[in-house]
């Protein structure tokens, strides 16, 4: 092994050194923050492209106009594809072929510098590619599924809270409108009629909530269920139970279901607090 500079142990060492030097070079010469728009040469140009897409999304969130023009990121992206797939991989395979031929035909005493360089530099790209090709599909699919499930629950919660706000608005609006004009006339409960509510769930509910239209493409919403409790002439509460389930939750919903997203709104004529039962975040007092 000592005299055979192309022994497998040495080959692994050459690749290891190349990986370390490559990492240092990237950090030293190029800030490798994908979202910071300045990047290095990477064996995974599609991850780089994905980072640029998300950066565009954040720019759009900030209200900036996205200008689609050729930038340095595109040059690095192209170089990444060329270096990784057109130069590094063929170099690696060429080195394997030459190594085999040299060992079979002409061991030689001269240090095989070309083979070593080709193998090391090629290997610095090929080894991470091989690792990611095995781990990447499983890991990224799992991450995507987890993110989508989590976001589905959060969106359902937000949709329920928005519907509660709309229903609260209708209740508050009805409170101030006189009886003769179709409102509740200043009371949600008729004390003289043994506490009979003057407002019903049917009057407050919206058949097709507008916000569901906003969610439709990414997170289509199924109908939520609601429970109304009128406490006095000027206070009531509305519970909203969403369609999505929190896995493993033992929480019993207001309507008897279990583990569903739930929020409730406490409403007075001039104020409303919307609370999500798992986070209890006050909203709008």
């Amino acid at each position: 092994m000592k005299t055979d500079r192309l022994h497998w142990v040495w080959m692994v060492c050459y690749v290891g050194v190349a990986l370390i030097l490559g990492g240092i070079l990237n950090l030293a010469l190029y800030p490798s923050d994908l979202l910071g728009r300045s990047v290095a040469i990477t064996p995974f140009p599609y991850i780089f492209a994905g980072g640029l897409r998300i950066a565009d999304g954040l720019d759009r969130f900030s209200g900036n106009q996205i200008i689609r023009e050729w930038k340095s990121e595109h040059l690095f992206l192209l170089l990444s594809i060329l270096v990784s797939y057109i130069l590094a991989v063929p170099s690696f395979i060429w080195a394997l072929k030459e190594r085999q031929q040299r060992r079979e035909n002409q061991p030689g005493r001269k240090f095989p510098i070309r083979i070593v360089l080709a193998f090391a530099i090629g290997g610095a790209f090929v080894v991470p590619m091989l690792l990611i090709s095995v781990i990447g599909p499983v890991a990224s699919s799992s991450v995507r599924a987890t993110m989508q499930k989590a976001q589905t629950l959060v969106v359902n919660r937000d949709a329920v809270m928005y519907e509660l706000n709309m229903m609260a608005l209708k209740a508050q609006s009805s409170y101030f409108v006189p009886l003769g004009e179709g409102g509740c006339g200043g009371r949600w409960m008729n004390i003289q009629r043994k506490g009979a509510p003057t407002v019903t769930l049917e009057e407050l509910q919206v058949q097709e909530p507008d916000l569901n239209r906003v969610y439709a493409e990414l997170f289509p919403q199924r109908p939520s269920k609601f429970v109304l409790e009128v406490y006095s002439e000027d206070s009531l509460a509305i519970w909203g139970i969403g369609a999505e389930t929190w896995e493993g939750s033992l929480f019993v919903n207001k309507d008897g279901q279990q583990g569903k997203t739930q929020a409730h709104a406490v409403v007075t004529p001039r104020k409303v607090i919307v609370l999500w039962h798992l986070e209890s975040t006050p909203h709008g007092f």
């Binding site: 998300i54 689609r68 595109h74 031929q101 928005y162």
Partner: protein
């Protein structure tokens, strides 16, 4: 060497040509990647010809097949995931706007409605008079009556009559709505917009875009 030069030219042409045709980074990356894959497969077949040993040849080809399959799947997952995240970021922005707009316009609407219905019968003002009494325009030459504390939602009085007051909420920065052709109150097009109608019969809220 010729093969590498030719592959470089083809991949560069595919990438840059697609980008300048579509101005889409992902399209260019996919095009460049696809052409690179074709060149690589050709290169692999050429490089693994004899005198390479059969054992080494099979090892390289099987490893390459696994790597190409795995990377292609990963590539596709990243493509769909980043596009989903891009759309999701925008969705969050729209929902934030609608929630803030509802909160601001509800406060204004309820105040106007309460004042209108609780005033003395003998000194009854119209809805427009009640509204104008409780409202100060930020800019007399525009219809903007309020901008929220974060400076992201502006409220405008679109119409003030004796029987109805119409308030419009728009984002102060560009937020695309569902319909690109929607004509916004401020003259722009396709941006998010909410509307609140204040009448003597109550408040009527609508997400217009």
């Amino acid at each position: 060497m010729i093969w590498i030069i030719l592959s470089t030219i083809l991949v560069s042409a595919a990438f840059t040509g697609t980008y300048f045709a579509t101005h889409n980074t992902w399209d260019a990356t996919n095009a460049g990647g696809f052409v690179a894959l074709l060149c690589l497969v050709g290169l692999l077949i050429r490089f693994t010809r004899p005198p390479m040993s059969r054992r080494l040849r099979l090892t390289i080809l099987i490893t390459a097949a696994i790597a190409i399959t795995g990377l292609t799947i990963h590539w596709k997952v990243m493509y769909s995931m980043t596009h989903w995240q891009y759309d999701n970021i925008h969705l969050i922005h729209k929902v934030m706007f609608h929630s803030t707009a509802l909160d601001r316009m509800r406060t204004k609407g309820l105040k106007t409605l309460e004042e209108f219905h609780t005033q003395q019968v003998s000194r009854r003002l119209t809805l427009a008079e009640v509204f104008r009494r409780g409202t100060q325009y930020i800019d007399p030459d525009s219809s903007i009556i309020e901008i929220d504390e974060d400076g992201e939602v502006k409220m405008m009085a679109a119409s003030v009559t004796d029987t109805e007051v119409v308030l419009i909420a728009q984002a102060t920065i560009r937020v695309d709505g569902e319909h690109p052709g929607f004509r916004n109150f401020d003259g722009s097009a396709g941006a998010v917009q909410d509307r609140l109608r204040i009448t003597r019969k109550g408040l009527f809220y609508e997400l217009e875009n």
